[in-house]
């Protein structure tokens, strides 16, 4: 499989297919990042789409100092910030009110009971709510670390802040989430994956 850097080089040479391979490779992580930052499915989709359009238009300015993925993350986070500012909203924990057994059954692993499935869904919703209550900086640091596996240094570069600040934001954010989950009674109710 070709590396991101190779595909970027080909894209810069005018190969549209190579850029579309990058899109295919990164559209889900970018959508997931946008969704977790702003909390709205449709808007996250729009942000993801706009990210790739901007990246394509600005490809000539990509000098390769950072990884292509980091560059995409930066564009996405900027768009999310614009969205939050424009909408004057705090991110929301979007989740359906009811639990659809049919839908859950489709997601079940063979060893998982329906009861555990329901608990898992409820826990996911509680996590989303706790995350939505965090300050932007702490939430973003946790998202980049937990769900995208960036190193402390990569996060610091992406957010233009010192390494120690990233660690502090992570520690504080995790502590708040832990407390909120405990207050919601989640820790004792959920047995965790076996």
């Amino acid at each position: 499989m070709m590396s991101d850097e190779d595909l970027v080089a080909r894209s810069m040479g005018g190969d549209l297919d190579s850029f579309n391979q990058l899109v295919l490779r990164w559209e889900r992580p970018i959508y997931a990042l946008a969704y977790r930052v702003i909390g709205r499915e449709e808007d996250a989709r729009d942000v993801a789409q706009e990210t790739f359009l901007r990246a394509f238009r600005a490809l000539g300015g990509f000098k390769g100092q950072a990884k292509f993925s980091s560059w995409l993350y930066r564009v996405t986070l900027n768009l999310c910030r614009d969205w939050i500012r424009r909408e004057r909203r705090t991110p929301v924990a979007q989740a359906p009110e009811g639990v659809d057994i049919i839908e859950l059954a489709g997601e079940a692993t063979p060893a998982e009971s329906i009861e555990d499935l329901v608990t898992r869904k409820e826990l996911g919703r509680a996590v989303a709510k706790a995350m939505a209550n965090l300050p932007d900086e702490q939430r973003t640091a946790i998202i980049l670390k937990e769900y995208h596996g960036l190193t402390f240094q990569e996060i610091a570069d992406l957010l233009d802040c010192p390494l120690s600040t990233v660690k502090t934001r992570l520690y504080q954010g995790l502590t708040v989430v832990r407390r909120q989950l405990q207050e919601a009674g989640v820790e004792s109710a959920f047995r965790g994956p076996q």
């Binding site: 996911g124 995350m131 995790l174 502590t175």
Partner: protein
């Protein structure tokens, strides 16, 4: 060693150097508080992993738009009158294109095409076409040539009045030269002439365009109705069977869920 939260986070995410990790391991052996905190934050990380975004229907793809036709006009300085003349030519070109006429301005003058990929000039005049379409296209081409010749005349007159200006309108036919001793035109006269040209062209093209639009609309509507009927038949056929099956499965699973709940 005091409780260092940065080290604790580094330990949690396995991003410490070997020596830092050994140091923190020793600290954990002595500090019950940090030990408990590491365990609790590990549990929190496990819970965080369960927050998943919905599965979206993405499939983004960057598609290049067809390249726009080259615009040599950008090289030229355009006065208001020349702008008007250019606008007139564009209007004529647009109307002609709808009526299967194509006009392109090139370095060597205008290229006029009629019908589907059929050139009007003598080199391609022999290409076969349906008689009615050929007649209307040829008539349109002849009319267009006349109009273009008149625009060219205007251009040449203005060139004499305003020497040194670049020409926006390319010469369509070099044999269509300016009659000798032509009178000078004022801007108002030019404006009037251009309006007349546009008006004449619009009138003549209107009927051809209207006929073709109506024909296209009828074809589109017929195709749409056929497809609609076909789809409806398919949907009606499948809907009955599917509804019954989904309802049965949903009832069964809900019953299972209720039983599990009662046994808890």
């Amino acid at each position: 060693m005091i409780c260092d939260k940065e080290l604790l986070v580094g330990y949690l995410y396995d991003e410490l150097t070997r020596s830092e990790q050994n140091e923190f391991d020793r600290h954990l052996g002595q500090c019950r508080e940090c030990r408990a905190e590491v365990e609790e934050l590990r549990a929190t990380r496990t819970h965080l992993a369960l927050w998943r975004p919905p599965e979206p229907d993405l499939g983004f793809e960057i598609v290049r738009r067809p390249a726009a036709a080259a615009s040599p006009a950008s090289r030229w300085s355009i006065s208001p009158i020349w702008g008007l003349a250019a606008a007139a030519v564009l209007v004529l070109a647009a109307a002609s294109a709808i009526a299967n006429l194509e006009v392109r301005a090139g370095r060597d003058g205008f290229v006029v095409r009629t019908g589907w990929n059929r050139a009007v000039d003598s080199s391609a005049a022999g290409v076969a076409a349906p008689p009615s379409e050929s007649r209307s296209a040829d008539a349109g081409a002849a009319e267009l040539q006349t109009i273009l010749q008149r625009v060219t005349e205007l251009e040449l007159r203005l060139s004499r009045e305003r020497p040194g200006r670049d020409s926006l309108v390319a010469v369509a036919d070099t044999s269509a030269t300016q009659p000798a001793g032509a009178a000078k035109l004022t801007d108002a006269e030019i404006l009037k002439r251009v309006r007349e040209i546009v008006s004449e062209s619009e009138k003549r093209q209107q009927s051809v365009v209207a006929t073709r639009v109506v024909q296209a609309m009828r074809e589109l509507e017929a195709a749409y109705r056929t497809e609609l009927v076909r789809l409806q038949q398919g949907i009606n056929q499948n809907q009955g069977l599917r509804d019954a099956e989904v309802y049965r499965q949903r009832e069964m699973l809900n019953q299972v869920y209720r039983l599990v709940g009662q046994q808890r």
